[in-house]
């Protein structure tokens, strides 16, 4: 009898449709890394615009942090089915999975731009603007295809 019940449970489990999975940990992780980027870009961008005084040490720490973020492996943050057509709470377009090499290439471009900032951050306020521009270009290049508008 127990065996039959067990077989029944196994059969039910095997036959149950795939439910919408809970990706909240992955969303928090990937959105968190972008928040870290934004906070540190804010330190650098406000100095570049003259909204705050230039401070070489703070600029270097922010740039180092951007490089550190760029080194986080992306795979675990982006499970299949966590796009904005499948779940709420994300603006990640399905194109991230459909053209994954393009997505990873654009992430790598951010890493290169972050290294340029890392090399320039301590060189004075004037060096920040162009490096910010380069990083901003890599953000846009990816958002252009892979991120949906707000709302």
């Amino acid at each position: 009898m127990k065996k039959i019940a067990l077989a029944g449970v196994v059969a039910c489990l095997a036959a149950s449709p795939v439910l919408a999975q809970d990706f909240s940990a992955q969303l928090k992780a990937r959105q968190g890394q972008f928040r870290i980027m934004a906070l540190n870009l804010g330190i650098l961008g406000d100095m570049a615009q003259g909204k705050t005084d230039y401070n070489a040490e703070a600029a270097q720490s922010a740039a180092d942090t951007l490089v550190a973020v760029s080194m986080i492996q992306q795979g675990p943050h982006w499970p299949e089915g966590s796009d904005n057509f499948s779940i709420d709470g994300t603006r990640a377009q399905p194109s991230i999975w459909e053209d994954h090499d393009d997505f990873l290439g654009k992430w790598a471009d951010f890493g290169e731009a972050a290294k340029v900032m890392q090399a320039a951050a301590a060189d004075g306020q004037e060096a920040l603007g162009p490096a910010m521009g380069q990083i901003g270009g890599t953000c846009k290049a990816c958002h252009d295809n892979h991120r949906a508008p707000e709302g």
Binding site: M37, C139, K140, A148, P149
Partner: protein, 290 residues
């Protein structure tokens, strides 16, 4: 009785005739471009300010100067595909004269004398300075040729009747300036950049049932025609960024919180980043003055 039928028939024919005349494609004077010599280098600045690449660049690939067309624009009336405007003589516009390009851009009328659909923002472009138009034409001839054929629009009846676009143009084709009296040169330049070249209202202003811009709601935000979400309102009561925040966003794509532009606006920033700082400041001044 017979007389009434005749009168009605005559009136009906007159009506049809009038409708046919009213919906005829409009063109510039034949010699409108004759005295002008385009400068491609100046035209590149017009090209970026007019955002041509945002729609006409190939959907695949990262070079905004490959103007092969092919991007899809969904709407309530069907799906429009941006055509090839590269310098290819067969599939692009390489063989077009200045006046043909000008009639397309400023009147929405093709070299064959057909109406373009107003997905092409010629209503705003109608106020292009003639010299800017000549410079833009010169620049368009200098971009690389691409032999991708333009994809036909996917528009259902009755919107598939091109002639009906003529009636649309009668309704919406020649609006007044939204900012009727700009105070000073910077605002006048900002008005030209926003209302004419940048055609910001095409996305940021809501439309009525016939697809005309509801200009009373100018730049107050609108549903996203091509997908999820909403295009934000950018009037001062809806966007509390400073003028320098707006200018920096248009240069770098970074919001004051250092989030970064997405979707179609990423393409807009790519174009605006190539303008001068004075032009970005003029756009910001215009938005703050609304």
């Amino acid at each position: 009785m017979r007389r009434i039928v005749t009168i009605l028939a005559v009136l009906g024919l007159c009506g049809l005739g009038a409708a046919w005349l009213i919906t005829a494609p409009d063109t510039l004077r034949d010699d409108a471009m004759a005295e002008l010599t385009g400068d491609a280098a100046r035209g590149e600045a017009v090209f970026w300010a007019a955002g041509c690449a945002s729609c006409h660049s190939a959907p695949e690939g990262d070079d905004p100067l490959v103007l092969a067309g092919g991007q899809a624009f969904e709407s309530d009336f069907g799906t429009f595909y941006a055509p090839n405007i590269s310098s290819d003589p067969q599939h692009g516009i390489g063989n077009w004269s200045d006046i043909e390009i000008a009639n397309a851009v400023m009147r929405g009328t093709s070299p064959d004398g057909a109406h373009y659909y107003p997905a092409f923002p010629y209503v705003g472009y109608a106020r292009l300075e003639p010299q800017d138009m000549a410079d833009l034409a010169a620049f368009l001839r200098s971009v690389p040729a691409d032999a991708t054929p333009s994809r036909p629009h996917d528009v259902a009846f009755p919107f598939s009747i091109r002639r009906a676009v003529g009636a649309w143009k009668v309704l919406y084709g020649s609006p007044d300036w939204v900012m009727s009296d700009p105070a000073g040169g910077e605002l006048a330049r900002g008005r030209y950049l926003v209302e004419v070249l940048g055609h910001c209202g095409e996305c940021h202003t809501p439309r009525d049932a016939l697809g005309g811009l509801d200009r009373d709601q100018w730049l107050r935000g609108a549903p996203n025609p091509s997908g999820k979400g909403r295009i934000p309102g950018i009037t001062p009561d809806q966007l509390d960024w400073s003028a320098s925040d707006i200018a920096y966003y248009l240069e770098s794509g970074f919001t004051p919180d250092y989030d970064s532009a997405g979707g179609s606006m990423a393409k807009v920033v790519t174009s605006f980043s190539k303008l001068t700082g004075e032009d970005r400041a003029a756009v910001a001044a215009y938005l703050k003055a609304l």
